[in-house]
Amino acid sequence: MGANGSSQLEREISRTESGTLTNEHYYGLVNFGNTCYCNSVIQALFFCRPFREKMLNYRQTLKKSGTSKETLMTCLADLFHSIANQKRRVGTIAPKRFITKLKKENESFDNYVQQDAHEFFNYLLNSISEALITDKKAEREKSSRHGTIKKGNVTVNMSPATAGISKDERERNGTEGSDSRPESTWIHEIFEGILTNETKCLSCDTKSCKDENFLDLSIDVEQNTSITHCLRVFSETETLCGDQKYYCETCSSKQEAQKRMRIKKPPQLLALHLKRFKYVDSLNRHTKLSYRVVFPLELRLFNVSDDAEEADQIYDLVATVVHCGATPNRGHYITLVKSNSFWLVFDDDIVEKLDVSSMEEFSGMSTEATAQMTSNQSAPQKNSESAYILFYQARNYVAEDSNHSHRPKNSTHSV
């Protein structure tokens, strides 16, 4: 890396860009000791354009309002701002304030141990949306106080958002621990989709649907499959029987039922988390499934419900967080990012161009021998660079486009 490396990248970029007047900045992030889980997610989010723009806007309004309270979000906004406003197009930057803040805010990240990038991603999204909600509340309180003083009769009706997220087993994180619908922020605008949980009682054939919001989907992986197939499997029908029998309202008793989970509203930015870290009982630890799961640069969802809007929405892959290494605890995270017409690899402070045709190398390992991790962990696990979080952005999605009027109200209904 260093000056030579980045100047070479600069040359390469200018060669490929020829003519296009984009002012993208490609900055590597310094690793502060096993913080690649953090760097990789930040880079991916930076190149999710809607997210970045919202973040930069946020900083702008923050600067205008003059509040100087430092949160994780303001640190990230500052980091984004400083990357976007560098003179040189390529270089490295140290996200020191952000990391310090992160470690202060959450003690589970306050160490030098390798963390799970997906956990961090979830934490980050949640803390940002929380920050936004508190901001909103503060503003509303301010204005309502203002209002009551001035006019006396203005009461802001803070209607509790349509409640009713299903409380039953919740495999997917993202909307964890919410008994009432959290307020919608731009995080939800970008990442949130709706899953519909269809259950059919096998004795009376009554069908019921429950909607569930998600910010990302955690997908089981299988050897030598595609992400398309894994999504299909995700929405396969499950039979609830035995202990898991379903309480049917119509029958007023526990019955066997069938259940499946399909996407009702595809999100604008579909974050797919591949469940590569699997707990193995016999080993009493997590192992990594380096399965080869190929992912196309373009995606449509097959597992949408019949009443879904934009069921055939096409997505473009914009970023991928890749885990390298054989085990969850050791290893490294890097990020593949699409910017303009080309792809880049962000490996902490190193930024390199990536040939699209070599994307397939990040799918994982294909031979079944490697799948038998449980039997022999001493086998060398070279080249287990495998995609861990995929970011698919809906085509034609413009961040400024605020006509989300058709966004469905989150509701629970039974048929």
Partner: protein, 763 residues
């Protein structure tokens, strides 16, 4: 009790084809997705379809001399070793057949197909075997693994190769062979010409048979990589021009080389660093319209270049096609020089090679297209790619005929099997005759079918009035006798290590004209499997019953149906509803289901200029060249079997065998169904063969309509009785007022699947 629940269960919420995991028999808590059954993981060395048994020939397995097998090498080392060997280049196989140039001519093919047909074995069986032998003596197989290239003598199923004694073996340094092809027309018993492309873009012509001459006749192109730096993805010789060959590259360039032009002149005297290309044809952009949004995308077009200089030099022409890798290309046949390419941008493009004109193109459902194959008659193109779908495209009508869904990952190679064409699946007595008459009728029918489409507007498939539809279907019904007649057999292999075989029947080809329908091999799409539909609404019956009912109609009057189907009026009124050829569709369009799908289309912009010119091709979702997922039938494979450890990269249909190869460099030769197998299978399926109802077609229909049913009757559950029962129950569930015919379909389903099941167990 669990069995009881299986019936409604399968019909209930199943929206997916690949629901191959049976509910476990114990008191399951939740179905574990991530743990496919044993059935799924086992590698099949033998499998049966209705034609008979395909079986790997053990002694014909070919690999590198010291195969890096997982049987010998500890886990993990295989991948590491592959990595070191430069496994990033795909393993490919090419053949040199000295006496079989005319192998894929249709008339030959018909003869072949009938010769291993169970019922024609006595007449044709033995002569074919003899000709096979002669041919096989003279074949050479060439394959690349990593940086190595091997050539062995190949005798099809009779191959007994001493792996330590290859005809030729080459190991390259710094670059690895990425594809290769023999020049059939310039090869003889003593000389041969092998064209090799490399990962760094170079091309080489060698003669592996030439061991004597002191000056090896090796030629190099693009040696200094001035012309092209990216890997060669595909090579072809121009049909009828043995001196001209083409190479496609990762960069999206396609070069035409003429061997007669000195190779040296092209390989750079320093001057060719920036070749003075002259633009010949330029079509910069195809208007690609995304859903709801219009945006022309640069780079989806193509440009061809030739030299400004007078002196011919190599490469003579350069085509820059689309954006991203050209994964494969091929010519339509020996005389019609249509060139089809598939690219990473997801487009299939069909060019008139002579005029360099883009004739039509097709867009994948999503993602890149990785492979293509022309049908033997050049009427269809099958493609496969990153959407995991097999897509069959009608070249003349410029529309997608159907999609096939079974692969669990990207499809790496599709091929038409030229030796299984145009024959009837059933009806043993008249088979020999009908296969010939069918040929006539198919072509006749195809011609009539093509006529209206050229004149009608592109909305043909969408807004066609009901009257047209029914008239058409009536017409086709009278011209072609058998809807289930197999017109094409397609094979596909994929990154999922599965081999799938697909039948394209007349019915699919004909009904492809209609926006939505069901037929015997068509899987109900998500909509049809919707819980609502399955809850037994009466209005859904017309839509769902055709697939169920029609075969039963056939089974009752097989002879009548064979050549001249009875006029619909003569049929008992009860069956009218089931005969979708004549009635089903018209009624079907008026059903509630159709209205939902038309409204879906209505929300999209109309593809008005889809046929306007070959240049302004509009490839939007919902257009004939990129239909929505519910706009065209989705077919189910005849069979889908895991046949390898590693991802499959090669599929070749040869006269006497089928060849598959995987990325690890194992090449398997599969024997085709033969007399011997037929006997065996007859024994196994004696129950099935005994009763007239047990024709094979109905089975597919019944299973296909319910998605889940197929898996069950394939024996996955491991319980014969359960499959029988559940299918039966399905029938009743679906159509409460259906009577004996559909019941019998259910019964025959399990009867048919018995042989397959038995074989799997026997192995």
């Amino acid at each position: 009790m669990h069995q009881n629940s299986l019936g409604p269960a399968t019909s209930g919420i199943g929206g997916n084809l690949n629901t191959a995991y049976p509910p476990s028999q114990n008191d399951c808590i939740l179905l574990q997705h991530a743990q496919p059954g044993r059935e799924e993981r086992e590698i099949k060395k033998i499998f049966a379809i209705e034609d008979g048994v395909y079986q790997t020939v053990k002694h014909a397995e070919i690999s590198r001399p010291k195969p890096l097998s997982h049987y010998q090498v500890p886990p993990g080392l295989v991948a590491a070793a592959n990595q070191m060997a430069g496994a990033s280049s795909t393993v490919r196989v090419s053949f040199l057949d000295f006496s079989s140039r005319d192998v894929i001519q249709p008339d030959v093919a018909v003869e072949c197909s009938s010769s291993y047909d169970p019922n024609k074995q006595d007449e044709n069986g033995s002569p074919m075997m003899r000709s096979q032998n002669e041919e096989n003596e003279k074949s050479i197989i060439c394959f690349n693994v990593g940086k190595e290239l091997y050539m062995y003598a190949y005798r099809g199923t009779r191959t007994k190769t001493d792996l330590t004694r290859p005809i030729d073996k080459r190991v390259y340094k710094g670059t690895a062979p990425s594809c290769h092809i023999f020049n059939q027309e310039k090869s003889s018993a003593s000389t041969s010409q092998l064209l090799i492309g490399f990962t760094l873009g170079q091309l080489q012509i060698i003669d592996p048979l030439d061991k004597i001459s002191a000056t090896p006749s090796s030629k190099l192109y693009n040696e200094d990589r001035y012309i092209e730096k990216t890997a060669v993805t595909c090579l072809r010789f121009l049909p009828g021009e043995p001196n001209i060959f083409l190479s496609s590259h990762v960069s999206g360039n396609l070069y035409v080389y003429d061997e007669r032009i000195s190779a040296i002149s092209s390989s750079g005297n320093g001057s060719s660093q920036s070749p003075p290309w002259h633009v010949q044809t330029q079509v910069l952009s195809i208007d690609l319209i995304g859903y709801r949004m219009f945006f022309p995308v640069q780079g989806y077009g193509y440009t061809t270049y030739s030299w400004k200089t007078k002196h011919p030099r190599n490469p003579t022409t350069r085509w820059q096609i689309g954006s991203g890798t050209i994964h494969q290309f091929n010519f339509s046949g020996p005389d019609t020089k249509m060139l089809a390419t598939v690219s990473h941008d997801g487009f299939l493009r069909i060019f008139n090679y002579e005029t360099q004109e883009l004739m039509s193109c097709m867009k994948s459902y999503f993602g890149g297209l990785l492979t293509l194959a022309w049908s033997p008659d050049a009427k269809l193109i099958a493609t496969g790619g990153e959407d995991d779908l097999l897509t069959v495209y009608d070249v003349a009508e410029k529309k997608v005929v159907c999609r096939g869904q079974a692969h669990k990952s990207w499809i790496s190679q599709v091929q038409f099997d030229p030796y299984v064409v145009r024959r009837s699946k059933k009806d043993p007595e008249s088979n020999g005759r009908s296969s010939m008459t069918a040929l006539d009728d198919v072509s006749r029918e195809m011609d009539t079918r093509c006529m209206p489409s050229t004149s009608t507007d592109p909305n043909f498939g969408y807004t066609k009035p009901t009257s047209t539809m029914s008239r058409n279907s009536l017409a086709s019904a009278s011209v072609t006798q058998r809807a289930d007649e197999i017109v094409y057999r397609i094979g596909s292999v994929g990154h999922d290590t599965f081999l799938c075989l697909w039948d394209i029947t007349n019915e699919i080809l004909n009904k492809g004209n209609h926006r939505r329908h069901r037929n015997s091999t068509i899987i109900a799409t998500n909509a049809a499997l919707d819980i609502d539909h399955l809850s037994g609404k009466l209005e859904d019956l017309p839509e769902l019953s055709p697939g169920v009912g029609e075969p039963s109609t056939n089974s009752e009057q097989p002879l009548l149906d064979a050549n001249r189907p009875a006029p619909p009026q003569e049929k008992p009124p009860k069956k009218k509803r089931f005969n979708r050829k004549a009635f089903g569709l018209s009624k079907f369009t008026s059903s509630g289901n159709a209205s939902t799908s038309t409204s879906a289309v209505g929300s999209r912009a109309n593809p008005t200029n889809a046929n306007a010119s070959s240049v302004d091709i509009v490839a939007r979702l919902g257009s004939p060249s990129c239909p929505g997922i519910r706009d065209v039938p989705i077919i189910e494979p005849l069979t889908c079997k895991k046949v390898s450890h590693d991802r499959l990269t090669v599929l070749e249909f040869r006269k006497d065998c089928v060849v598959t190869a995987c990325q690890e460099g194992f090449i398997c030769t599969w024997s085709r169904p033969s007399d011997r197998d037929d006997v065996k299978q007859d024994n196994l399926s004696s129950t099935a063969a005994a009763t007239p109802e047990s024709e094979q077609k109905p089975s597919v229909s019944a299973t296909a309509s319910f998605g889940y049913g197929s898996e069950i009757s394939n024996g996955v559950t491991g319980s014969r009785s359960s499959s029988n029962f559940s299918t039966h129950e399905l029938q009743q569930l679906r159509s409460p007022n259906a009577t004996s015919p559909s019941y019998r379909v259910g019964a025959s389903t399990s009867a048919y699947h018995r042989p397959m099941y038995a074989w799997q167990n026997a192995n």
